[in-house]
Every structure is written in structure tokens, then in C-alpha cells.
């Protein structure tokens, strides 16, 4: 049973991340807000509960790794890293500026605490699998978590990686699919024909769960279940809402990449706890 305090703590962290996302996109005038918001609760759960990490020792060899395969959602990840103590939160407001360590898409050599360079879709599952296989070879006991989008499941490399992970029985690899049902140009159903997702992963030899990706109890329980799986990689299909937390962004896919006006910014922040 997951305690109410544990969940309340994560809800507060997620709200802070959402506020940072809106603030970053508003102040730096660029970025992908609604794909960041759909992944926010997964990222909050990872960085403030699940991952075995030490911000004071970011290069710790036996740390858990995280790969944001849908790299365009990096405002959420940058916020989590800052709020977890890897760098000062005020640096978030340099997103996508020259000389910032926060690139438009994640670049590991520049950002403290960032495990993987991503951005070009479809690659993160295989990069994460490489990290997971390295833990076996180096006899380091860590786990690897990946978040992919659902649109990026159209990339062939995702399924090359899925096949290899199943074949290798990479049981220390857990992949969340941020199933917000949208990609840049429309719904994934219309554009990619990606469904059913669960049966595909199962056919590739994965343990599969489907959860509400905004319900922390379900996220934490699913990870606990995944950790018990000893012979297969695990997929957690997280049903999410693109733009979650800001009502006027939900169902309007123009927020895939869009900058807030002053009024929109105020409305969004109002929904996320008010202007401070």
C-alpha cells in the first residue's frame, strides 16, 4: 500500500514541474509544452521516488539510468533535474539560448544529471537497452528506465530494440510509453496506426502493464510489479493526456509546440497554483 504522504509529495513535485514548463516556454519563447505536460507525472515519479540516484554524485556508476526517448519533452526533465538538485532552478530560464547547458533537445555532455542524448525519435529504447546490457557485463546492479512517445513507435528502430531486449531478456529495462494519443500532426490512430501497443510488446517478449499515467499510485505499483519480473523487459503503457494540468491545452494539438501569450501564461499558472 502506497502511503498518502508519498503520493501527496509527488503531486506537489509534479505541480512544480508543470509550473516550470509553462514558465520556461513563456519566458524563453520556445519548446514543446503539451508533450512535456503529458510526461510530467512519470518524470516526477522517477526523479522523486523511483530512481536510485545521488545528485551529489551524478557520475555514480551504479546509479539507475533514465532515457527520455521523446527528447522534445525535455522541459519536464530539465525541471526535474533542477528541482532534484543537479543545477540551480533559475538556469531553467536559459532553455534553448546560446551558451545555455539546456539544449533544445537533451545533450548529456552539457547537462549535469542527464544520462542520454536524445531528440531524434525512436532511438532511446535501444540506447537504454545498451545501458541495461552494460550493467550485466560490468556487474553493476542498476536499472534503466525509458520514456518513449506513442507517435515515435512508428520508428522501425523501436521494434529492433524491442526485439533485441526481449531476446536478451533484459529484465533491468523498463519502458514507459507516454500514450497521450497525439503526435505532431494529429492522433496516433490517424497517422501511425500504432494500436494495439500492448499486444505488440507482448509479442516481442515483454511483460506489459497498462496504467493511468497521471495516477501516482498506479505508476509506483506498476514499477514495483515490473521490478519483480526476472526474465523479460517490461513495458508500462501509461495512458496520458497531452497538456495535462492546463485545461485549455487539452484537446488542442497546436500546443505540441507553441508559446504562451501573456494572457495564456496567466491562465495556465492560475490553474497550476497561481502566479507567485
Amino acid at each position: 500500500m502506497i502511503s498518502r504522504e508519498r503520493i501527496a509529495q509527488l503531486e506537489e513535485r509534479a505541480r512544480q514541474i508543470r509550473r516550470d514548463i509553462v514558465e520556461m516556454v513563456y519566458r524563453t519563447k520556445d519548446g514543446h509544452p503539451s508533450p512535456s505536460l503529458s510526461a510530467t507525472d512519470l518524470i516526477a515519479a522517477l526523479y522523486f521516488d523511483i530512481l536510485k540516484i545521488d545528485p551529489a554524485n551524478p557520475e555514480w556508476e551504479a546509479r539507475d539510468r533514465f532515457v527520455l526517448s521523446k527528447g522534445h519533452a525535455c522541459p519536464a526533465l530539465y525541471s526535474a533535474l533542477a528541482r532534484r538538485g543537479y543545477f540551480p532552478p533559475e538556469e531553467l530560464m536559459t532553455l534553448r539560448f546560446m551558451h545555455s547547458h539546456l539544449q533544445g533537445h537533451p545533450y548529456a555532455p552539457k547537462t549535469t544529471g542527464l544520462d542520454a542524448t536524445t531528440g531524434s525519435l525512436g532511438n532511446g529504447l535501444s540506447v537504454g537497452l545498451g545501458m541495461a546490457l552494460a550493467s550485466r557485463i560490468r556487474k553493476l546492479d542498476y536499472r534503466v528506465y525509458v520514456i518513449t512517445g506513442d507517435g515515435e513507435l512508428g520508428e522501425g528502430l523501436i521494434w529492433e530494440g524491442a526485439m533485441a531486449a526481449g531476446h536478451q531478456k533484459a529484465s533491468n529495462l523498463t519502458v514507459f510509453v507516454d500514450n497521450n494519443n497525439y503526435q505532431s500532426g494529429g492522433t496516433v490512430g490517424e497517422i501511425t496506426g500504432v494500436y494495439p501497443i500492448d499486444e505488440k510488446f507482448r509479442a516481442f517478449g515483454w511483460h506489459v502493464q497498462t496504467i493511468d499515467g497521471h495516477d501516482f499510485a498506479q505508476i509506483l505499483e506498476a514499477v514495483e510489479t515490473a521490478k519483480q519480473v526476472a526474465d523479460r523487459p517490461q513495458a508500462i503503457i501509461a495512458k496520458t493526456i497531452k497538456g495535462k494540468g492546463v485545461s485549455f491545452m487539452i484537446g488542442d494539438n497546436s500546443w505540441h509546440k507553441r508559446v504562451y501569450t501573456d494572457k495564456e501564461y496567466e491562465m495556465a499558472m492560475h490553474e497550476l497554483g497561481g502566479l507567485r
Partner: protein, 316 residues
């Protein structure tokens, strides 16, 4: 004269075994390519250090990137074009850009390497593609033992490394244990300063033979091996060009993007000279025997000597 063959594929395997004997971070990544380089002896000794990903080169490169990020030194060996073309983006964005220490070994390079397989397995673009990607070290050793030494030398280079190898039927160019120095040209023949012949890889013996034909015509040639295409030894190349003022490049690669282009860049920016580029003249090869193909596509001993002689005679 009998020709001795020293397989570049075996050279790779032997180099990797020597590395793995000394260090436990060496990993052999196979895209169903382990048998291509007769890697079974490695597999027998270190089964836990072979990662087989199947026929999936993008996957092999991305997995290697992840393993390198987690502290390993992956060596991924498979067909040169399946790496540099199919998995080009993974080599760039996930390996070179974050400076991961993945080592790529490209098999069947050139029409000599691909020979009877035909164009789908003859890779004449690999160097040109990789030269445009920041951060790569590109090595083109001339024979099997040179490949072994290039593998040994590659292990501690910062960032990614590409080593170009062939089909396994390469002629010996150097005596065993001849040094392989990364980043430096090597003068192989010094018969005079009328013309410089720049080359690398499996055409090297042909180029050396051409100097004898040139000498009979009273033309003194210098043969320069450029086994490191990146970083290029601009200073060494310029010093040779300053003496000869005339150059021929000979490469089993398209003349666009490879050695010919590299020398042309040095000529344009650092040391003016006349240049003729031999190699694939912006066209594909075809199936055939290796030597027959090199002859037919402008890299016979006679073609090399003729091209060099024309340059010298024009100037006289």
C-alpha cells in the same frame, strides 16, 4: 612473384582479442556479423562480452552508444555501408555528438572489398560520409597486420573511431609489426619529386608498383600513405606538395569526399599544386574479381603511372 594475403578481417579479430586480454571493458557488438570476421575464438573466450543484436545496424549502433555511456568500449564490426549509410544518424547523433567511445569497423570497403557481391555490398562512400561528421577519427590501414595495430591504437582515442577493412583477401603491404601511427602520413617510396602519389588501403601495392614504371620513363615519384583520413596530417601533406607541386590520389572510394577531396582541400587552402584524382569517378562498380575491378575502374598500375606521367609531361 607470389603474393601473400593477410586478411584485414582476421587482423581486426586478432587486435580485439589482444585488447580483451588486457582490459575487461572491450565488447564485441555483432549485427549477425561475428562469423563475417571469424569471431568465434573471441566468442569462445568471452561469451559474456559478445552482444549479438541481429540484422539491425541502427539498433547495433544505438545499443553501442548506450553501452559506451555506461563505461564500456564497444567494437561494432559489420558491412561498411550498413553502418555509414543505414545507421549514419545513430553514428552521428548518438555516438559522435556526445563523444561516445564506440569503435566501428567497416567491412567490404571499396570495390576491391565488395568485389563479386556487387554494388549493394561495395562501399565507396563511407569515408566521404564520415568525414563530414565532427569528431570522428577515420583510419584506413593497408593490410591485416596494420588493421590489428589500428585496432590496438584505437582503444584510447577520444570519441568515435572508424576503421575501414575489406573482404579478407588483402595483399600484404608491410612486414608484420610495422608501426601504425595515427594522424601521420608515411612516405613509402622516394624516387624523386616529380609527382606525389597519395593513397591508402588495398591499392597501396599497385601505387608502389607504378613508381617503378614511372622511373623507367625518367619520372621520379614519391608515394605517400594517408592511413588517417581524419584528423588529416595537413602539415605532412603540405610538405610533400611543396616539393612536388603535382599530386595523384588513388583510392578505392568515390573521388568525391574521400582522399581525393581531402588532398584537394589541402591544395586549395595550404599548398597549391596540380591534382588528378583516381578512384570511382562518380559512378558505381559492378560484380567482378577484386583485381579485375580495380583495373577496370582506373586503378591499374598502368592507369596510375599514366595519370602521373601525364601530369609531369604537361608541366615540362
Amino acid at each position: 612473384m607470389s603474393v601473400e594475403f593477410v586478411s584485414t578481417r582476421i587482423g581486426f579479430r586478432e587486435g580485439l582479442i589482444q585488447l580483451a586480454e588486457k582490459r575487461d571493458d572491450i565488447v564485441f557488438v555483432s549485427t549477425d556479423s561475428l562469423k563475417v570476421v571469424k569471431g568465434e575464438p573471441f566468442l569462445e573466450r568471452w561469451p559474456e562480452r559478445v552482444v549479438e543484436v541481429g540484422i539491425a545496424e541502427q539498433n547495433g549502433v544505438a545499443i553501442s552508444a548506450g553501452m559506451a555511456a555506461a563505461g564500456l568500449k564497444p567494437y561494432l564490426c559489420t558491412y561498411a555501408g550498413f553502418l555509414t549509410m543505414r545507421a549514419c544518424e545513430q553514428m552521428r547523433t548518438f555516438v559522435a555528438y556526445p563523444r561516445q567511445q564506440v569503435r566501428f569497423v567497416g567491412v567490404n570497403a571499396g570495390i576491391f572489398g565488395g568485389n563479386r557481391e556487387g554494388v549493394s555490398h561495395q562501399f565507396i562512400e563511407d569515408i566521404g560520409i564520415l568525414r563530414t561528421i565532427p569528431g570522428f577519427t577515420i583510419l584506413c590501414p593497408a593490410d591485416g597486420d596494420q588493421v590489428r595495430q589500428a585496432v590496438l591504437a584505437s582503444v584510447d582515442i577520444e570519441g568515435p573511431v572508424y576503421i575501414r577493412i575489406g573482404s579478407g583477401k588483402e595483399e600484404r603491404v608491410f612486414p608484420d609489426d610495422s608501426p601504425f601511427e595515427i594522424g601521420k602520413i608515411r612516405i613509402l617510396e622516394e624516387r624523386g619529386n616529380d609527382v606525389a602519389l597519395f593513397c591508402h588501403g588495398f591499392v597501396t601495392n599497385r601505387v608502389r608498383a607504378a613508381t617503378a614504371a614511372l622511373a623507367e620513363k625518367g619520372i621520379g615519384a614519391t608515394v605517400v600513405e594517408v592511413a588517417t583520413l581524419k584528423p588529416l596530417d595537413v602539415e605532412g601533406i603540405s610538405a610533400v606538395l611543396a616539393k612536388t607541386g603535382r599530386a595523384v590520389t588513388i583510392e578505392d572510394h568515390t573521388i568525391i569526399g574521400g582522399l581525393g577531396s581531402a588532398i584537394a582541400e589541402v591544395i586549395a587552402e595550404d599548398c597549391p599544386a596540380k591534382l588528378v584524382r583516381l578512384g570511382l569517378q562518380d559512378r558505381y562498380g559492378e560484380s567482378g574479381f577484386p583485381d579485375e575491378l580495380l583495373d577496370a575502374y582506373g586503378m591499374s598500375v598502368e592507369s596510375i603511372a599514366d595519370a602521373a606521367a601525364r601530369l609531369v609531361v604537361e608541366a615540362r
